[in-house]
């Protein structure tokens, strides 16, 4: 494993660094995603790019990998500027420079074989991006087999020929890394590669990363998992609000300092949950099961209570959210809402029962972006807005939409503005406003502040608290632990389809929850939820 040497700085100045990012800025419309970022990557070193959601990490790696042009600034490789103007390498340019990116979605082509995914881009780069070239199948298989062997994957013909959409996630991850190896990458960028891997799979991946470093490859690891950073060593580059705020040697920097730099605040985060007014049990779920996703989930929720549910991607938390909202009905088990057994077969059933569901991905699952705020807000209650002729009353719809946007402090010129013209935080509030029109008894929020800026987060949290105070039952399903700690009464942790722990949100620490969900600490697996 590559050790960090503090006195190596002297030798670095002898030759140009492998990659230098100079004063890169990027704006989307009016939003500045990157404000004057500069950094230097030396060959054969590992760098951790760290920061909270929305700090600009993803934008930065997209610019380095040529997927997006910078608005201004420069990228130098081996001391030479690249691209016509800004840091605009272009996808092929970046690949030619030996920069390979393993995105969170892994960028594998689902319908192509393992061998093609691993070795095809190599041939494309050799051809300079020109397509009218023969496909060298034998070379494709040889290159792929060699690269796969390095990440300890099988090199049999059957495996080489398999479509990648038939592989489990951890295998796909290694295939994506094998692609970088096959391309003889000089810099491998990995975007939160361990998010949904088991502990064993993470260890396996880190071992592969160490081997890359030994071979002189530079690695840029985008992550917010401090344990992994500590285990790999190297340098931490910390970003916040589109700026690089610090660069530290991992070995000599305590974890607490790194998290403080990432969040920009002391770790003690103020809880929004102050004086909960908790009533009787309103939701009682017993043995809810959906084979392959979750099994025997039992939980209760009281009126006015805010319950957090978290877990890794494959823990079943997303599927639970979909089952509670009727999108993907559960297979067996019972749900009782205020004493009455309910059977959710579709989202329409959930709406009838007074369950509002704010989905995780508001852009694709929630909002009609090109439609107006009014259209988006009034959607679930159109039949209530009919006038004497059975037509939808524009006046009533307008009034209802105005009421909601005033209530939720949506910043918009008027209710006829298209939702896509609003900021992320305001879009999210419109979506919450939509579900409030049905006066829900139970509100399920799935990742309520994903991609939402800090100011909007604050407003959304205050709204959630107010709703609970008014007696609504609220379930927040999220992987944003600070968000759960700040807002919930209890936090359920799921792992491999079961509830493995229930924490009191007022006393538990982020670290403790993380340990439970990743399966690190020995937590008594109760499988059941205990009401406080």
């Amino acid at each position: 494993m590559m050790q960090f040497q503090p006195d190596a700085a002297g030798t670095w100045s002898m030759s140009a660094p492998f990659l230098e990012v100079r004063n890169v800025r990027k704006s989307f419309g009016g939003v500045q995603a990157l404000k004057d970022v500069s950094l230097t990557l030396q060959a054969g070193q590992i760098y951790h790019l760290m920061g909270e959601n929305g700090c600009g990490k993803s934008t930065l790696i997209k610019i380095i990998s040529g997927a997006q042009p910078a608005t201004s600034g420069q990228i130098l490789i081996d001391g030479a500027p690249t691209g016509p103007l800004a840091g605009d390498l272009g996808a092929i340019g970046a690949l030619e420079a030996g920069i390979e990116t393993v995105y969170q979605d892994l960028s594998l082509l689902p319908n192509l074989s393992v061998a093609e995914n691993v070795a095809l881009t190599g041939q494309l780069v050799e051809a300079g991006g020109k397509l009218a070239r023969p496909l060298r199948r034998a070379a494709l298989h040889d290159t792929a087999a060699r690269a796969l062997a390095q990440v300890h994957l099988p090199t049999s013909r059957a495996f080489l020929g398999r479509r990648t959409d038939t592989l489990p996630l951890a295998t796909r991850q290694l295939v994506a890394i094998a692609r970088a190896i096959a391309a003889e990458a000089r810099l491998v960028i990995m975007d939160e590669p361990t998010t949904s891997l088991t502990r064993q799979e993470v260890e396996n991946l880190l071992a592969v990363v160490r081997r890359l470093l030994d071979q002189g490859v530079t690695v840029l690891f985008v992550t917010h998992k401090l344990d992994e950073v500590k285990s790999l060593g190297g340098h931490a580059i910390i970003m916040r609000d589109g700026q690089k705020v610090a660069e530290r040697e991992v070995a000599t920097t305590p974890k607490s300092e790194i998290s403080q730099l990432m969040t920009g605040r002391e770790i003690s985060e103020a809880r929004y949950r102050t004086e909960p007014k908790i009533g009787d049990v309103m939701l009682d779920i017993q043995n809810l099961t959906q084979p392959a996703s979750f099994h025997d989930l039992s939980l209760t929720l009281r009126k006015g209570e805010i319950l957090g549910v978290t877990g890794l991607l494959d823990s079943g938390r997303n599927e639970l959210a979909l089952a509670l909202s009727g999108v993907v009905p559960a297979h067996s088990g019972t749900m009782q809402l205020e004493g009455r057994i309910i059977d959710l077969k579709s989202p329409a059933d959930a709406i009838r029962e007074g369950i509002g569901y704010v989905p995780e991905d508001r852009l694709t699952e929630g909002l009609f972006l090109e439609k107006t705020i009014q259209d988006n807000v009034t959607l679930p209650v159109l039949d209530r807005l009919r006038n004497a002729f059975g037509m939808i009353s524009g006046r009533r719809a307008r009034a209802l939409a105005r009421e909601q946007i005033a209530d939720l402090q949506v910043v918009a010129p008027n209710v006829q503005a298209p939702v896509q013209s609003l900021s992320g935080g305001n879009q999210q509030r419109v979506l919450i406003g939509r579900w409030l029109t049905i006066n829900p008894r139970l509100l399920i929020l799935h990742g309520p502040t994903v991609g939402v800026d800090v100011g909007s987060k604050d407003t959304i949290f205050r709204i959630i608290q107010r709703l609970a105070d008014e007696g609504m039952g609220v379930i927040i399903i999220s992987d944003d632990l600070p968000e759960l700690l700040q807002n919930c009464d209890r936090i359920l942790v799921m792992r491999q389809g079961a509830i493995i722990a229930t924490h009191d949100a007022a006393t538990v620490s982020e670290d403790e929850i993380y340990q439970t969900m990743a399966g690190g600490a020995a937590v008594p697996a109760t499988g059941k939820d205990a009401t406080p």
Binding site: L112, L124, L131, R133, L135, R162, L167, A170, T198
Partner: protein
Amino acid sequence: MTETTIAPEARGPAGRIWDLMGQRPELFTLALIVVTAIAVAIANPEFVAMNNLFDILRASVVRGIFAMGVLVVLAAGGIDVSFTAIAAFVMYVLTMLVHNVLPGMPLWIIMPLAAAGGAAFGVLNGLLIHALRAPSLIVTIGTQYIIRSFLLTFVGTALFMNLPASMEAFGKASLFSWQGTNGVVSALPATVLVLVVVALATWFILERTLLGRAIFASGGNPGIAERLGFNLFQIRLFVFGWAGLLAGIAGIVHVASNRLANPFDLAGMELEIIAAVVLGGARITGGSGTVLGTLLGVLLITLVSNVLVFVGIPSTLQRAIVGIFILIAGTIFALRQRA
């Protein structure tokens, strides 16, 4: 998911056939062909005569050439419904030109001209789709209407019965003829050669060039393909250009084998061709499909349209049979995908 399991689970024979069908959906098409052929042969043994087989091959040629173009477009994640209009335009204009102006033009000039004309229309489709960032279905519906309307309004509506000599000869040429015991002479038309060449060329492009892989890559996920360095613009120009080029060739083959240039011909065949390609195992959503499967799909559609009369099924019912086959195949492919 504690261990990286990549070995397929042990399954029974039914499961194995199911899995195999998932990997090679064209096997299902082949099964349908065999079942149909056997059913027809049992009901009416006269069906198994050389001239019938040659007839089916003859009728497959134009469909097959079109289908190769559709396959390439579908594989890249697009769809094209303008190819029949392109074929009609090219065949009619070219026949008119040769007939009225250059009656002596040989086939080896006519064919490349048709290909070039068709390709020009196809590239225009590709340019429009890329520039407008519009769905290819919408764009090609638009160009289909425009091309057809232009043809009928500004070029002409009269039929050409007297074909230029070179085209007439091409349509009559046979590779092989065979005299049956009843004295009926059956001939294997030379036009089949065109389909063979087109199929081989399409296979070569799809399976043996970087371009072929790029086509499948963009059909699998265009965003990722672009990120990996594949040039979507070039891919789109090529696939629609190729579909147009083959449409031009198919137009000439159609005129030659029918010995008639009718500007109203070919209209409405689009869906049938797309159905044949999908029956051959290509997904309508892109990223898959094989030349062999597509040929089988074409054969199946031609078989159903040509031979059901042998078992006394009225021609008006043929479409229903094709429809049932499509529904069965669609269901099976969808189930396989979900598993």
